[in-house]
């Protein structure tokens, strides 16, 4: 007779060694992005190709600025977690750790740069 339950034996055996938190975070951020991204694509596409004055005017509008900030923060978190999942599936050891650090840093730097741009445009 086994004294360990099937759950106890399964815990920690996934490639990421964690449970459902990652999946739930991705579900949450995907729903948030699903509501925001189409509108943002329209606003970004309309501003692209305009003069600098018009671009600054477009992104200093409160709605556009707040929407862009939300997409940068939530979108880059969603990217970092998704890319981490891919790395965990295809690599191991030191390479995995370095790659996870790299994509996390990349996502953070992109979000920080975008937020800096928005603040500078708003001021």
């Amino acid at each position: 007779m086994r004294y360990l339950t099937p759950r106890k034996r399964a815990i920690g055996k996934g490639s990421a060694h964690t449970g459902t938190h990652h999946h739930w975070s991705m579900t949450m951020s995907s729903v948030a992005l699903a509501f925001m991204v189409p509108t943002w694509m329209y606003l970004f596409g309309s501003a692209l190709g305009q003069s600098r004055v018009d671009v600054v005017a477009a992104f200093s509008h409160p709605f556009t600025a707040i929407l862009t900030a939300l997409i940068l923060v939530i979108g880059m978190r969603h990217f970092a977690m998704g890319a981490t999942m891919m790395i965990e599936d295809y690599s191991r050891g030191t390479a995995r750790k370095v790659l996870v650090m790299f994509v996390t840093a990349l996502a953070t730097v992109i979000a920080a740069t975008g937020l800096y741009a928005l603040i500078r445009i708003a001021l």
């Binding site: 329209y42 692209l48 671009v55 600054v56 990217f79």
Partner: protein, 132 residues
């Protein structure tokens, strides 16, 4: 169970799963891996868009360069591919939410949804290109 008793667990002959390279491509597998590819490839469009926005915030010279790249044939290509990638990933995400709720997991439905993602993403990309 005779095998297990007669030899150590290490030497049990277990069936090998077919290797990816000789595995017949299936719509469900392709639509799944495309979700990952589009999601990760979108970082290219994001880098270009954020560079363009940061340049607009910083100076005329910086914006002139970023805008020239963003509106060149290269920029058009990146943003058109990104639009398709967004829509494909978007529809795939909706399918994931539907799967997570316990629906559509039988093969005929999953394959119909895959075609819906492929055709739907192209239609939405064309609409995006026309409207925006």
């Amino acid at each position: 169970m005779a095998e297990v008793k007669s030899s150590s667990p290490r030497s049990v002959e277990r069936p090998l799963s077919p290797h990816l390279q000789i595995y017949r491509p299936q719509l469900t597998a392709i639509s799944s891996i495309l979700t990952r590819i589009t999601g990760n490839a979108l970082i290219v469009g994001v880098v270009l868009a954020v560079w363009w926005l940061a340049a607009a915030a910083i100076s005329d010279d910086a914006f002139a360069l970023a805008n020239a790249v963003s509106t060149s044939w290269f920029g058009d290509l990146v943003f058109l591919c990104s639009a398709w990638a967004v829509w494909y990933h978007y529809l795939a995400g909706l399918r994931h939410l539907y799967f997570d709720a316990g629906h559509g997991l039988d093969i005929p439905t999953a394959e119909k949804l895959a075609w819906g993602m492929i055709i739907g993403s192209v239609v939405l990309t064309v609409l995006t290109a026309i409207i925006v």
